[in-house]
Structure formats: structure tokens, C-alpha cells
């Protein structure tokens, strides 16, 4: 499984990468939203885990620009938003895209990893 992790907090980025790799995923990491868009457009990822508050743009901007490549249905299944700011407005917007949202800090890290790997639900496309 090929995963792109867009996260600007170095410790979260590195730990999540390691945790996911322990489950045989291949993980690219990126801290800039704009660079992430380039990576998304030029590579094939099964899963894009994206932080909401990036230094340059927001995770929603990344999703918006990814519409050039993905259908709404693909966006719904590929993207998972991780955020420390889970205000009602943010939840509402995530719901518009239909993608999953996980609040930081994770209540249960193991469960979060399962969601990232698509092991928790049949909704996620099988690869």
C-alpha cells in the first residue's frame, strides 16, 4: 500500500511513517501543502493522510487541487484528514468531501493506524 503523509510536525511525521511502515506500507512524507499537491498529481497513492493546518496552505486546499486528478468518490476514499482543530465548521467541511477525519491527539493510536491502512472498514477500496 502506497501512502502519502502530509504533516508538518516532525515528530508526528516520523513516528507515523515508522508505525505505518511496520505494517508493510510504503510511505512518502511531505510537510508543505504545495509540494504535496505536486506529489499527488505526479504519483499514484492509495491513501493520502493530510494534516489540516499546514504552514503554507490548508489540507482542504490540497483536496481542492487534487480534484484535477480524482473524482469525488476517489477523494472520499483516498483522503483522511488529521487535525488538532476539530471545530464544527471543520467537521462540516470534511463531511462535504465525505472523507474521514481523525482528531489529534489520537485517542487510540492502534485504531488510527488501522483506519489509515483501511483495515477497519469495508468502505475503503481494496488494493
Amino acid at each position: 500500500m502506497r501512502i502519502l503523509l502530509v504533516e508538518d510536525e516532525p515528530l508526528i511525521q516520523k513516528s507515523l511513517k515508522l508505525l505505518l511502515e511496520r505494517h508493510q506500507a510504503s510511505v512518502d512524507v511531505e510537510q508543505s501543502g504545495k509540494n504535496a499537491i505536486q506529489l499527488i498529481l505526479s504519483n499514484e497513492y492509495d491513501r493520502i493522510i493530510c494534516d489540516l493546518m499546514l504552514q503554507d496552505i490548508t489540507g482542504f486546499d490540497v483536496i481542492e487541487d487534487s480534484k484535477a486528478k480524482f473524482s469525488p468518490e476517489e477523494i472520499k476514499h483516498k483522503f483522511i484528514i488529521i487535525t488538532a482543530y476539530s471545530s464544527p465548521q471543520v467537521l462540516e467541511k470534511a463531511a462535504e468531501y465525505g472523507c474521514k477525519l481523525i482528531s489529534k491527539p489520537f485517542e487510540d493510536t492502534t485504531k488510527a493506524i488501522e483506519i489509515f491502512l483501511g483495515k477497519d472498514s469495508n468502505e475503503l477500496p481494496k488494493n
Binding site: E9, P10, L11, I12, Q13, K14, S15, L16, L18, L19, A84, Y85, K104, P105, F106, T109
Partner: protein, 512 residues
């Protein structure tokens, strides 16, 4: 001024008795006539008031009838003032027998220190009153010229000033009072100068006019004072009403507003007159606003702090978990576990702090003891040298109540900070705060007991009052806000005991 007035009145009375001077007696007559007119007016005013009293009592203060009566009253009061003011004084002077040959009288009064002087004149031929304002420096020049002159006889043609409205020659005199200088002018208003005899009478008698002028000056000053008070009352931000003992409205600065919630504060001005001041019903609203502002400002700051810290803390937490998992050496594993615990403590404290400063009216199931424990942790910076104990019966350990945890936390937080500060101000050997939790049928009582120096007995009744504080940088709102929060919880906060052995505050919270 008052003393002088008395001495003049006394002098007047004496002179009235002897009545040696004809001029004096005619001036006194004018005075008596004036005062009789006032008395007459007062009498009719009181008559009007008393005859309409019943009507007023029957009618609402804003009814047309009452308004009519009130306007009549004010008309009379207004007329009463005419007889005492400086404006009409020239005509009064010309009615005095000794001066009745003159056609024109002008009286210019200058209140010392004022930039302008007030001129009032009266012309007999057309019964007209004139009023104007004169520059004070011009007034002073003329005043000095008159003072230097011996015969006090002047001619308008030679005069440098334009502010005498008379024609030809005139007699002038000056009078000086504590607060005012006065110029008095009398003229025939023709080109024949006053004869020697007239000059003589004028110079002899003009100073007998003092009491008349003085009474007009005094009433003028009173009138301007009344105007000023009237203006102040009109612009007073709250509703004022003055009533007599029969509840007749004597004064009201604003109409009644039906919708606004007001609280009436009453002050008896004398045995018959009541001043009612209507203040907004709950001045405490402003304290609520202050509290909310403070909570929301701190809440915002703490929220920012929470978000800024939670991300790196989460990174640390993930890393330490990962490293714990990867580590095979048990000693190192233990260290990572300790790191993990430290991070979790940081996360909890940040969460609890942001909870205590959250604007929340949310009622939920709360584990009381753990809420108190969490709150005590937050007070650590102020209470670190104080031992804190929570004492309760075993069956209350896991007590859950339906309540607002934010408010309870805010109250306990404040009480523990207060107790800690009181303890640290004195040299207590073993500083201790006990938190005792008891349950009665439908009430939980939380006692916050410190062994501090106690609150002086004379302050016991004041500590919950807003803005009362003994701290140098205190707002005096802490306990007041706590008590109000307790009442919002439908409970209460009270001072149970305070002496040299310590202080007990009790917070009662209903169990629903």
C-alpha cells in the same frame, strides 16, 4: 454671601424702625412691596398645589390633567422669579419715589472673574427692558472712571463707551459686592442735566439701593445655580424623581420606561421630600460581563496555548510509544514509559485548564472527586507549599452528579487560590487545606478548610460584596463571582467559619 445678607437684613430692619430717611423708607417700601408680591404668589402657588392635590393623587403623573397642573405650577414659579431678578431691577429702581423723576435706568453687573458683564436697562417712556452683554475690560474701564469722578455726572457725548443706551447727561454710581461689581446709571433721557438737588439726592441715596441689588444678585445666582442643577439632573444617566410625602411628583428628569428593569433607591431629603433614584435592576450584570470577558479572554489565550502545545506533545507521545514498543532493553523501556506519563500529564493539564476557562453552560454527568482533584492540580503554582487533602466517605469516591463542571471547577479553583494566598501571608507551621465532601439527601457540601490566619470578623459581611478586596492587586470580584456561580448551579457558597485557627468556606451543590 449668606452672612452679609443677614447683616444687611438686620440693618434694614433697624432702619425700618427708625425710618429717619425718606429715601430709605421708600426703598424699603419697594422691598416690602416686592416681598409682599412674592408672598402673595407663594400663597397662590401653595393654594393651587393644595387645591389640586387630590386631583393629582387621583391622576397618573403623566396624565394630561397632571401635566396641566404641573405647567400651571411652573408658570407661577417662573413669575415669582421675575420679581427678584436683575433684569427687572431697573424698573423697580425707577419706581422708587426718590428716583421717579428719571426716565432711564441701567444696571450693569459684573461677576468678578467673568469675561463678560450683564447689562439691564429700562426706559420709562416705552416701558421697555433691554438686556445686553458687555466685555469685562470695557466694564472695568468705565467702573474706574466712575469711581474717580466726584459729582458722578457724565455726558454721553463725551463718553468713550457705547454701552450706555441713554441720551445726554446721566448720573452714574458704582457699588461693590464680594462677588460682583455694579454700575448704576440714571438719566432723564433728554439734554437737560440733572439739577444739583437731584445730584445730591442721587449721591446720598444710591447706596441705600444695596439691599435691593444684593437680593436681585443673590436670586440671579440662585437661578443660575438652579439652571445648572436642572441641567445636571436632566443629563443624569439614570431616572430621578422627587416626590413629597403625599407622593406628588415635584420633579422628574425622565419619563418612566416601562420595559427597563429598574431598582428604586430611596433617600429622604427631609421629612417631606423623597428622592428616588432608579438604577438598572441588576448592576451585577456588569460583573457578569466582566467575568465573561475575562473568562473568554483567558479561554482564548489558553485555547491558543492548547493548540500550539498539543501538536508537538502529540508528536512526543507518538514517538515515545513507538520507542517503547521498539525498545528491547527493559531499563530503557521504563524510561520511555516515564516520558510517556509526563507527556500525558501535560496533555491533561492543558485540557483541564482549557476546560476551566471555557464559556460553558453545559450540564453533564461529572465525577465530583476527580473534578476536584483535577482542579487542585491547576492551583499548584499558588498552593505548592500547602498540603492539600481530599476527605470523603468511601461511597462518595465515585459520586457522579449532573452539573456544570466548569463552574464548580472555577469556584474550587478560586477558593483554593484564596486560601493558599492567605496561608502564605502568615507563618503557618504546617500549611494545610482540607477539602471535605459530605452528602446529605439531595445536596453535596464541599468544605474548603484552611489553617490560615482567618478573615477579621468585621470583614465577614463584606467578603462577598463586589469590588471588596484586601489584596493589593485584587479586583474584589473573585468571591462575588464564585457565589453567583454557586447560585447559578442552584446551590450556594458561604463563609461557614473564620477565626484565628482558619477559615471554612462551604459550597453546596444540589444533586439532581
Amino acid at each position: 454671601m449668606e452672612n452679609k445678607s443677614n447683616s444687611i437684613d438686620e440693618a434694614n430692619a433697624k432702619q425700618l424702625k427708625s425710618s429717619s430717611s425718606a429715601a430709605q423708607s421708600s426703598i424699603n417700601n419697594a422691598l416690602i412691596q416686592q416681598s409682599n408680591q412674592i408672598k402673595l404668589l407663594e400663597k397662590s402657588y401653595h393654594h393651587l398645589v393644595s387645591s389640586n392635590q387630590k386631583n393629582i393623587e387621583k391622576s397618573l403623573p403623566t396624565s394630561p390633567e397632571a401635566a396641566d397642573i404641573q405647567s400651571k405650577n411652573s408658570f407661577l414659579l417662573k413669575n415669582r422669579a421675575i420679581f427678584q431678578n436683575l433684569q427687572t431691577l431697573p424698573s423697580v429702581v425707577l419706581n422708587i419715589k426718590e428716583f421717579s423723576n428719571f426716565q432711564y435706568c441701567q444696571i450693569i453687573s459684573h461677576q468678578k472673574g467673568n469675561p463678560t458683564a450683564q447689562s439691564n436697562s429700562y426706559e420709562k417712556i416705552n416701558s421697555k427692558l433691554y438686556s445686553s452683554t458687555i466685555n469685562s475690560s470695557e466694564f472695568n474701564n468705565v467702573y474706574r472712571t466712575i469711581k474717580k469722578s466726584k459729582n458722578k455726572l457724565f455726558n454721553q457725548i463725551n463718553s468713550e463707551t457705547q454701552f450706555f443706551n441713554c441720551v445726554g447727561t446721566y448720573l452714574a454710581s458704582i457699588l461693590s459686592f464680594d462677588t460682583h461689581n455694579i454700575i448704576l446709571i440714571l438719566s432723564h433721557n433728554d439734554f437737560l442735566p440733572p439739577g444739583d438737588e437731584e445730584q445730591d439726592i442721587f449721591n446720598k441715596n444710591v447706596h441705600q439701593l444695596r439691599p435691593l441689588i444684593f437680593s436681585a444678585l443673590k436670586s440671579d445666582m440662585n437661578n443660575s445655580r438652579i439652571e445648572l442643577l436642572n441641567l445636571a439632573f436632566k443629563n443624569f444617566p439614570y431616572r430621578l424623581r422627587i416626590t413629597d410625602k403625599n407622593e406628588i411628583i415635584l420633579y422628574e428628569n425622565k419619563p418612566i420606561t416601562q420595559n427597563s428593569a429598574e431598582k428604586c433607591h430611596e433617600y429622604w431629603l427631609d421629612n417631606n421630600t423623597l428622592l428616588s433614584v432608579y438604577l438598572p435592576a441588576d448592576t451585577n450584570n456588569s460583573i457578569d460581563i466582566y467575568h465573561n470577558e475575562r473568562v473568554s479572554l483567558l479561554g482564548e489565550l489558553i485555547n491558543t496555548l492548547k493548540h500550539e502545545l498539543s501538536n508537538p506533545l502529540f508528536g512526543l507521545s507518538l514517538t515515545s510509544k513507538l520507542l517503547t514498543d521498539l525498545e528491547t532493553d527493559e531499563d530503557k523501556k521504563d524510561i520511555f514509559i516515564e516520558v510517556q506519563k509526563g507527556i500525558e500529564r501535560c496533555q491533561t493539564i492543558i485540557k483541564n485548564f482549557s476546560d476551566i476557562y471555557r464559556e460553558s453552560t453545559e450540564v453533564k454527568n461529572v465525577e465530583l472527586i476527580s473534578l476536584i482533584k483535577e482542579t487542585i492540580v491547576l492551583t499548584k503554582s499558588e498552593s505548592k507549599s500547602v498540603e492539600k487533602k481530599i476527605n470523603t466517605e468511601a461511597d462518595l469516591e465515585n459520586l457522579e452528579i449532573q452539573t456544570n463542571p466548569t463552574w464548580i471547577s472555577q469556584i474550587i479553583f478560586n477558593l483554593i487560590i484564596n486560601s493558599s494566598q492567605a496561608i502564605s501571608c502568615s507563618n503557618i507551621q504546617k500549611p494545610l487545606i482540607n477539602v471535605n465532601i459530605k452528602r446529605s439527601q439531595n445536596l453535596v457540601s464541599i468544605d474548603i478548610i484552611d489553617n490560615g490566619p482567618g478573615i477579621p470578623p468585621e470583614l465577614h459581611s463584606k467578603i462577598f460584596s463586589p469590588f471588596f478586596t484586601t489584596k493589593q492587586e485584587g479586583t474584589g470580584l473573585g468571591l462575588n463571582i464564585c457565589q453567583r456561580l454557586a447560585r447559578k448551579l442552584e446551590g450556594d457558597l458561604r463563609l461557614t467559619k473564620s477565626d484565628e485557627n482558619g477559615t471554612i468556606f462551604t459550597l453546596d451543590i444540589p444533586i439532581k
